[in-house]
């Protein structure tokens, strides 16, 4: 299976995070919004392409949940009068998301499902790691990412034997 995108996303996120100083609130806001948007975009593609009922409903759930998380994040930064500020971590997340979409668009059926779900596992783990190490320990939305990660792992296991 092609795994283009995941290592790139991972390394870029970590490199950018490690290289940069602790991001400020405006930068964190941009990272949060971008991280959610990347998963919304992948979810929309998977919901329309996948024929697997579990993958499809997971993808729809990602669109709904991350849209909700983004709405609450935007509400919060608006209330705090913070304007999201683009930064290398947000940019690398976006680049990784775009690369994932390009990769997925070249795949069909089971190969698509596996690549999408495997990327979802890596993505949610990556965001959790970033939350814990760099961004916001005890972030309010952390449990949602944990639940999504466990859900994605379950589907990944169910797809393992399929060809």
């Amino acid at each position: 299976m092609k795994r283009i995108g995941i290592p790139v996303l991972a390394s870029l996120l970590l490199t950018a995070s490690a290289a940069a100083a602790q991001p400020n609130d405006a930068q964190i806001a941009a990272i949060v919004v971008t991280a959610n948007q990347v998963d919304i975009d992948a979810g929309k593609l998977a919901a329309s392409v996948s024929h697997n009922v579990d993958v499809k409903s997971f993808a729809e759930r990602m669109v709904t949940d991350h849209t909700g998380v983004n709405k609450s994040a935007v509400d919060l930064v608006t209330k705090l009068k913070v304007t999201p500020e683009d930064n290398p971590t947000a940019q690398s997340l976006k680049a990784g998301g775009d690369q994932n979409l390009r990769n997925l668009k070249g795949l069909k059926r089971v190969a698509f499902d596996k690549a999408y779900v495997t990327h979802e596992v890596a993505y949610h783990q990556q965001v959790l790691d970033a939350m814990d190490q760099v961004l916001i320990p005890n972030a309010q939305n952390r449990p949602a990412f944990v639940a999504h990660l466990e859900h994605a792992k379950k589907i990944e296991a169910s797809l393992a034997g399929k060809r």
Binding site: T67, A144, V146, A147, H151
Partner: protein
């Protein structure tokens, strides 16, 4: 007037005609024995993709209200078909009043990691 305060009225020995009139005015709880506990309301908070508390014991006739504090929808759905809230949108709640005793396991149909139990006595 709440059922509890109605009980208070009776306890303080008001004439039964007054009690009956009050019962007519306020809906009354005459069918509930004065000695028995009034139905209670229990709250389960849904937050951080979890039911809190995950295990709850109530009496038959008590109300259980699930409040969704997450920014996306959840459900409270019993595994045995006893109840299904369907989507509880962010900031909304859903109430179920169990009538029969027994243990009910439930979850969120959207998030398989979410689990809860309701014990009805």
């Amino acid at each position: 007037m709440t059922p509890a305060s109605m009980t208070q009225v009776r306890r303080y020995g008001l004439p039964s005609a007054v009690t009956a009139a009050l019962a007519l005015l306020f809906g009354g709880t005459e069918s509930t024995p004065a000695s028995g506990p009034s139905p209670a309301t229990h709250t389960v908070i849904i937050e951080g993709v979890q039911f809190s508390p995950p295990a709850l014991t109530v009496r038959a006739g008590d109300a259980v209200i699930w409040i969704n504090r997450d920014p996306f929808p959840h459900t409270a759905t019993s595994n045995q078909g006893r109840f299904d809230s369907h989507a509880i949108e962010p900031g909304r709640s859903w109430t179920f009043t169990p009538k029969k005793a027994g243990a009910i396991s439930y979850g969120c149909t959207y998030h398989p990691t979410m689990k809860g139990t309701l014990r009805v006595e």
